[in-house]
């Protein structure tokens, strides 16, 4: 212990070197967590998993009681919606059958729409909100890999940033920057093809996603839903991301951009689904080619 006292300058220098080294080590574009990190993350994660069950249980009950106040109004609304859904359901069933039949004709069994869902529960959230990340209770042992999309029932919320053996970290959509773009499709009512674009990042002040179109489109209606296109190679096609709030041009007036409001509520997360795309991505094809 007296070491810290005597060699003060020495210690400060050493600690600065350690700081820079560690930051450099972790900022590097890593594929895997080191085993030490995995071990610590899993240990803390398993305790959280057990200890927080009652906490979340109580929170859910309180939330349920809150919701009960609006049950009557919601019920009326839902009844109205229900009648229109019957018609839609029939249409969808017919379309699915037709689609399957057509795909069978083409001898095409896997598409970029298919995915295997992995159910998970959020067990912790990063305490300091510099990083928008949450921890879930599923890891490599359950098939969760880096870069998989994470969704809730109402839409996409983020992607897997890193996975340990029994827990994984999810980077939420409001933490996305230019290094993790999502390729998206926007439905155009007039033409047959969809508008294409990229999610560039998150606008903190507006609390909306920033979308850049690859082309210039004239007839983009507000509140149109934005879906993932599956062309980025990581996410499956057809995951709902949000709806368009405003269409403008960027600061130089060269490209068309839009602000997208998220469909899912990323502040209130509880049960999420990790999306494992069935069609192999380009990386995986390359990997199997190497072997």
């Amino acid at each position: 212990m007296s070491f810290f006292r005597r060699k003060r300058l020495f210690t400060i220098l050493i600690s600065l070197i350690i700081l820079v080294g560690l930051i450099g080590f972790s900022l590097r574009d890593r594929e895997e967590l080191s085993s030490v990190e995995e071990f610590i993350q899993d240990t803390v994660g398993s305790f959280q998993n057990v200890l927080f069950r009652p906490v979340y249980y109580v929170r859910d009950i309180v939330g349920n009681i809150d919701e009960m106040k609006q049950v009557y109004e919601e019920n009326q609304q839902l009844k109205e919606n229900l009648s229109t859904y019957q018609q839609k359901l029939y249409e969808v069933q017919e379309l699915t059958k037709e689609n399957e039949a057509l795909q069978a004709v083409l001898d095409k069994t896997e598409t970029i729409t298919d995915y295997r869902p992995i159910q998970a529960t959020v067990i912790a959230r990063s305490p300091e909100q510099w990083f928008n990340q949450v921890t879930i209770n599923r890891g490599k042992q359950h098939g969760v890999e880096k870069d998989m999309a994470v969704i809730t029932a109402s839409g996409m919320i983020g992607k897997i940033q890193s996975s340990a053996q029994f827990t994984s970290t999810v980077l939420l959509l409001n933490g996305f920057d230019r290094s993790n773009r999502i390729s998206v499709n926007i439905d155009l009512p007039e033409t047959e093809s969809d508008a294409k674009g990229f999610i560039l990042g998150y606008d903190d002040t507006r609390e909306q996603l920033l979308l850049e179109f690859t082309d210039s489109y004239e007839d983009i209606a507000l509140e149109t839903t934005v879906f993932s296109s599956g062309l980025g190679g990581v996410f499956p096609k057809g995951l709902e991301i949000g709806s368009i709030e405003e269409v403008t041009t960027d600061q130089y007036g060269l490209t068309q951009i839009a602000y997208v409001k998220l469909s899912a509520d990323i502040e209130e997360l509880n049960h999420v689904i990790v999306v494992d795309r069935l069609l192999t991505s380009i990386d995986e094809i390359e990997e199997s080619g190497d072997e």
Partner: protein
């Protein structure tokens, strides 16, 4: 128990750090304040004030270890918490030598170290490009409310742990 108590509580606090967002009222977020609860760091201050002797550096040692664990579990960048916790605990340890500990002095130490640690973390994150928030926005949106909320945490921990820490410190260092 006198040896085990501080690391045990620290471990529990590290785990609890993951559900801290449940303790922050959602009206804060709506009005644009972002609060970080530094439960672990508050307990480290408690250790420095009430447990450590002048010649023992347990608060410093625990700061390094718990900072590292926090880094690994809750953020993608390793080393930031470890470094800032360790440096600030070192300062606190030296402050303690010149100050006579009572409630007002410990409040003063708390505010000083909390400002130091939060600004330091912000500054490192800004340096490596994690955030682009300028200092004034940071000060208004984050620092002020963080100080207020953490002071409440400090008072709660003072009530819960102060007596225990003083007793265990006595058992640990004086009775030999």
């Amino acid at each position: 128990m006198s040896r085990l108590f501080p690391p045990l509580i620290l471990f529990i606090l590290i785990i609890l750090q993951g559900i801290n967002f449940l303790f922050i009222p959602s009206s804060f977020e709506a009005s644009g304040f972002i609060v970080t609860i530094h439960g672990v760091f508050v307990f480290l201050i408690m250790i420095a004030l009430y447990y450590d002797e002048e010649t023992s550096y347990y608060s410093f040692l625990y700061a390094i270890i718990s900072g590292l664990v926090l880094d690994i579990v809750y953020s993608p960048v390793i080393g930031v918490y470890m470094f800032s916790y360790a440096v600030v605990m070192y300062v606190v340890h030296h402050l303690r030598k010149v100050l006579h500990v009572n409630f007002y002095v410990s409040s003063f130490v708390f505010f000083l170290s909390m400002i130091l640690v939060d600004v330091m973390i912000y500054w490192i994150y800004k340096l490596i490009g994690v955030t682009e928030l300028n200092f004034q926005d940071y000060f208004e949106q984050r620092l002020l409310m963080t100080l207020a909320i953490n002071y409440i945490v400090f008072l709660i921990q003072l009530v819960l742990f102060k007596r225990l820490l003083v007793r265990y410190s006595f058992e640990r260092f004086e009775q030999k």
